[in-house]
């Protein structure tokens, strides 16, 4: 990457990720342009602009030294936890559930910020935990507690998708931290028991319906099964080469719900076919592979846990969203990173990307600190 002609400040940018990422965002913008019947407004423009803004933020994050991350981990976690409680209180006072805070210039969804924050705080915790204690209760209980508190708060919002994302990100960091496998097996067994109970006693009706519908979408084709059915029709009717740019009847005639947000992949697949789908998967593959390589090449435990956790958080978004639109998972309202229109998701994912870039930078720049 570093040639003599190219200035060093440009050459040292993480092009390996920026090129595929930008390609994906621009492709997403094209899909949004088509979804708006060939208009840049209201989605395509803001999508690109947001990417630009959050990319700048990510590049700034990437310049922060490791110590700052370590130092900020607990305060950031505590601060976001406070915001979650605040949201909950405001919802209780205002009546009805609320997920965001209105800051005046933007609405902030604290649960989104919690996704990278949980990875950060757990990486910090296990980094500072003496190795011998990793396999003891002193490793497990705080870790689980750090996950359970925010996940619980998000769960009662209620936002099952984000709660699962937080849990997944956290559990992956614990797993990577080296906690005994039997604990995970035990937890898995407990979950096998608890999930049916939670399904019947904890989930809201609409959440239960989504799960039931996922199991048999055709049972209620005009109700909650509608989303999945229409999404599959959009993807299936696209075929291998797609119907052509701007020719997607499912999205243009409004059969596909949420065509520009959660189901943007179906919108894309209808017009670009399997070819477009493979391109998206390939780009995601490149980004995730980059994240893993950054983690594996990192010399220290904190960097490793942080980078892998961030990568996995992005992966969780992708996997759940794509499984949902293809009828392999229930409808849980998780957008597709970098393609779906939506500021919160873009922000979270760009924080993850920025963090991984920072980890990469710590290694290549040696012990330099800011």
């Amino acid at each position: 990457m570093s040639g003599s002609i190219v200035p060093e400040s440009i050459a040292r940018q993480p092009w390996r990720v920026l090129v595929p990422l930008t390609a994906l965002v621009l492709f997403g913008a094209a899909v949004l342009y088509s979804a708006a019947s060939g208009n840049l407004r209201p989605w395509a423009i803001t999508h690109v602009v947001r990417y630009g803004v959050f990319l700048a933020a990510a590049l700034i994050i990437a310049r922060l030294p490791r110590e700052w991350f370590k130092w900020a981990a607990y305060p950031a976690y505590a601060g976001i936890l406070f915001l979650l409680v605040l949201v909950e209180l405001m919802g209780a006072i205002g009546g009805g559930s609320q997920r965001w805070l209105n800051l005046g210039f933007m609405t902030l969804q604290p649960s989104e910020l919690m996704k990278p924050a949980i990875v950060l705080v757990l990486a910090r915790f296990f980094d500072s935990l003496p190795p011998g204690l990793t396999v003891s209760w002193r490793g497990l209980v705080p870790g689980v507690g750090l996950i359970a508190i925010p996940a619980g708060l998000v769960m009662i919002q209620p936002d099952l998708g984000t709660a699962l994302a937080i849990t997944f990100g956290g559990v992956v960091v614990i797993y990577l931290a080296g906690l005994p496998l039997r604990w995970f097996i035990g937890a898995g067994a407990a979950a096998a028991v608890a999930v049916p109970l939670a399904f019947f006693f904890l989930l809201h009706d609409y959440q239960r319906n989504r799960v039931l519908t996922f199991l048999d979408p055709e049972s209620d084709p005009l109700g909650t099964g509608y989303h999945i059915t229409q999404s599959k029709i959009a993807i299936g009717s696209g075929g291998f080469f797609g119907k052509g740019f701007g020719n997607g009847s499912q999205s243009h005639l409004e059969y596909l719900p949420e065509a520009h947000t959660d189901f943007v992949f179906a919108t894309m697949a209808e017009e670009w076919g399997m070819l477009g789908g493979l391109f998206v998967l390939l780009v995601f593959g490149l980004i995730l592979r980059w994240g893993f390589q950054v983690a594996r090449n990192s010399p220290d435990r904190f960097s490793q846990l942080l980078a892998t956790g961030m990568t996995t958080t992005i992966f969780f978004y992708i996997a759940i969203n794509l499984m949902m639109v293809m009828g392999l998972a229930p409808v849980v309202g998780i957008p597709l990173p970098f393609v779906s229109h939506g500021g919160s998701s873009m922000m979270t994912n760009m924080i993850c990307i920025g963090t991984i870039m920072a980890v990469e930078r710590w290694r290549t720049r040696g012990g330099l600190s800011g």
């Binding site: 190795p131 011998g132 990793t134 396999v135 992956v172 797993y175 990577l176 931290a177 080296g178 906690l179 005994p180 496998l181 039997r182 229409q230 599959k232 029709i233 959009a234 993807i235 299936g236 009717s237 696209g238 075929g239 291998f240 009847s249 499912q250 005639l253 409004e254 059969y255 697949a269 209808e270 076919g273 399997m274 789908g277 493979l278 998967l281 995601f284 593959g285 995730l288 592979r289 893993f292 983690a295 594996r296 435990r301 490793q304 846990l305 892998t308 996995t312 992966f315 996997a319 794509l322 499984m323 293809m326 009828g327 392999l328």
Partner: protein
């Protein structure tokens, strides 16, 4: 894997991380492969299935209601046609906020409170995707006002279509019936998507119902691209409809209209038949409903108006009205006498009554007719003559003759139903009531009272058969091959005799002198009849409460020496035959000189408040002002069989067992009068006449 050994160092953790991150990466790669495979399955292997589903999402096949076949009169003029119009329909299932949409629509269409209420009734009753007509026959402005607001009105459809049009409105209401949107029941019987296509109407009554199959035609189709919300994006292609086949009737349109209008304010019917073919030229029943107004369902006010009317505008009196025929049976009875060998010159003395055993049966003319032979008995309608000879000849022969002439018969006509009435004879009475036939039964029957009940069509058939001497069957459908007309086998001499006597009813010293046609060289023959409705102890039958007044009958044919047309008129509670024969005279006049007949009618309609349509509109306005939105709802069943409800019995309704002879009501005009007033004057009231019972 991760050791649980006593010593855990950062080295073991590093190893553990490497292994576990590898597992995690492999898992993520696996998920990626799974997703790619899943996508390949959906997009490539199941592509055909999903392409079809996307296509069936995108493309909506809309049926275009076929143009309904016209109903034509014998000369090819339309009695029912179609006119293009702008219409607005509602699909209730697609309404998002019914209350708001209907109120908005009501404002755009300029509907009155009553119309909005009717619309809400209809929407409430509609099931599934059954469309409801909000308005039809819209002008461009109102149609455009709705069209531009369609995006705000999901479930509302504005389109150009055809609606049924009956040029003469109420005049053909009973005969032709009407069309309306298919009901849920219709759809259950015939699962045809056309039935729930907005704007499609099916025949609900009368010929529209009978000939539904012929008239319907084949729907056209329009393939359109629609959004999930049902909004049409563009037309893809379309197929034209195949219009229904026309049905040509034997009806003479102008005559039908004339007869209906001529009935005026009366409740009655007029039937005209061709004496050569049996063609029904006119079958008018009034008052009627306007089938044009029924096409989009029956509103509350309309329904209240029609069902409250004691003139039963919902009953087709031609086929469903059953009446004691009164003296109109006398030519038939006379023919039975002649066939039985009675010498027409044999006389009986009429002194106003006839003593049989220890009972006296009165003639309608209490003063008596003096010496009466058969001819005089017909033209003067002498009851005593018939009492006397009927006992000699016997009821069986009279009943046989009545049936030969078409009474008590249900004809093979394409109509939803006929009430065929009763021709009583001893066997019938024994079977029905388990009682022996009594003398007074014969007495009643010979003057068309008692158990005997006929409908106006039967009376016309009787007149036509007497006129022609042939077995004429009434026909309603034109263009079939001319019927094979066979003779009834009467001697021409007998027929001539009866014809002459019937001519004398009108043109001689008979009971209907004012019925003489104002046409030179055309003489009409006829027979009056006055049928009592209640005993004389309740009402004289002439005046007083309308529902107690006598029915007026008149059967006739013309020209009397070469019969061409036969006509039967019934005026319910007209107070006697004097109400009936002027109508017959004018209708017959119309057949020979329409201009002259129209002149008479226009004078009368000026006094009645216009044509039936104009009068109905005025009446609706009054009713609307009176009831406002307070009229009761029209129930589903009512709507289903608007006319059926009034037409249910096809057999004679149960009658009380006669225990006495009915008193013959007087003929209104005993002498050949020269007065030309079209409004009958009640004859001097024979109020002294009590209902007859056995006299000691």
């Amino acid at each position: 894997m991760a050791g649980t050994g006593p010593h855990v160092s950062s080295g073991t953790l590093k190893n553990s991380f490497d292994r576990r991150s590898f597992v995690l990466g492999a898992m993520q790669g696996g998920v990626g492969l799974l997703l790619a495979a899943r996508m390949g399955w959906i997009a490539v292997f199941q592509n055909a299935k999903y392409e079809l589903e996307a296509e069936s999402n995108r493309v909506n096949l809309t049926l275009v209601p076929p143009r309904r076949g016209w109903i034509l009169d014998r000369n090819g003029a339309p009695l029912a046609s179609n006119k293009t119009d702008f219409r607005v329909d509602i699909i209730p299932d697609r309404l998002v906020d019914p209350e708001r949409s209907i109120n908005l629509l009501g404002g755009l269409l300029n509907l009155s409170a009553i119309e909005v209420q009717d619309l809400k009734d209809k929407i409430e009753k509609a099931r599934g995707f059954q469309p409801v007509e909000a308005a039809a026959g819209l002008d461009w402005d109102r149609f455009a006002a709705v069209s531009v607001r369609l995006p705000d009105l999901p479930g509302v459809i504005a389109q150009r279509g055809f609606s049924r049009f009956y040029p003469t409105g109420p005049a053909v209401g009973h005969l032709i019936g009407y069309v309306g949107p298919a009901s849920a029941k219709d759809y259950e019987e015939e699962r045809n998507p056309l039935l729930v296509t907005p704007g499609f109407k099916i025949g609900k009554d009368g010929l529209e119902k009978t000939f539904e199959k012929e008239l319907r035609g084949e729907p056209g189709a329009r393939r359109v691209e629609v959004t999930a919300g049902g909004k049409i994006v563009r037309d893809l292609d379309s197929r034209d409809d195949v219009p229904g086949k026309p049905v040509q009737l034997t009806i003479d349109g102008p005559l039908q209209d004339y007869a209906a209008r001529r009935l005026g304010l009366e409740s009655g019917s007029v039937v005209v038949m061709d004496c050569q073919t049996g063609d029904i030229l006119c079958a008018a029943s009034m008052p009627s409903f306007d089938p044009n107004r029924f096409a989009n369902g029956i509103g509350r006010i309309e329904w209240k108006m029609l069902s409250d009317d004691d003139h039963v505008p919902l009953r087709n009196k031609v086929l469903r009205g059953l009446y004691p025929p009164g003296s109109t049976v006398k030519p038939m009875v006379a023919l039975a006498f002649l066939e039985a060998g009675l010498d027409p010159e044999e006389t009986v003395g009429c002194g106003g009554g006839l003593r049989v055993g220890n009972r006296v049966f009165h003639c309608w003319n209490r003063r008596g007719h003096g010496t009466v032979n058969m001819a005089k008995a017909i033209y003067q309608s002498c009851d005593v003559y018939f009492y006397h000879f009927a006992q000699r000849i016997g009821m069986e022969k009279i009943a046989v003759m009545a049936k030969r002439l078409g009474l008590g018969e249900s004809y093979p006509l394409p109509v939803p139903g006929q009430s065929y009435g009763t021709v009583p004879d001893p066997a019938w009475k024994l079977k029905k009531y388990g009682k022996e036939w009594a003398v007074f039964d014969t007495v009643n029957a010979t003057i068309g009272q008692g158990y005997m009940l006929v409908n106006p069509l039967q009376q016309a058939v009787m007149a036509a058969r007497i006129a022609s001497g042939n077995v004429l069957m009434p026909r309603l459908i034109h263009g079939q091959k001319p019927p094979l007309v066979t003779s009834l086998g009467f001697s021409q001499e007998h027929l001539d005799f009866v014809h002459k006597a019937m001519s004398d009813v009108v043109n001689g010293p008979g009971t209907a002198g004012r019925a003489k046609l104002p046409i030179p060289d055309v003489l009409m023959a006829g027979k009056t009849g006055t049928a009592q409705v209640v005993g004389l102890n309740i009402s004289s039958g002439k005046g007083g409460q309308w529902k107690y007044r006598d029915h007026g009958h008149f059967i006739s044919f013309a020209p009397f020496d070469k019969p061409r047309y036969a006509c039967a008129v019934v005026i319910e509670h007209g107070g006697g035959s004097g109400a009936a024969y002027p109508v017959a005279r004018d209708v017959m006049t119309f057949l020979f000189d329409p201009a002259k007949a129209m002149e008479v009618l226009s004078g009368m309609e000026a006094g009645w408040g216009g044509t039936p349509q104009q009068r109905m509109e005025a009446k609706y306005r009054v009713a609307a002002a009176q009831y406002g939105v307070g009229a009761p709802k029209v129930s589903d069943q009512d709507q289903q069989s608007a006319t059926g409800a009034q037409n249910q019995p096809s057999e004679a309704p149960p009658q009380p067992i006669a225990s006495a002879a009915a008193s013959p009501p007087p003929e209104p005009v005993a002498e050949a009068s020269t007065a030309a007033s079209p409004v009958p004057q009640p004859a001097p009231s024979p109020s002294a006449m009590p209902l007859q019972g056995p006299t000691p």
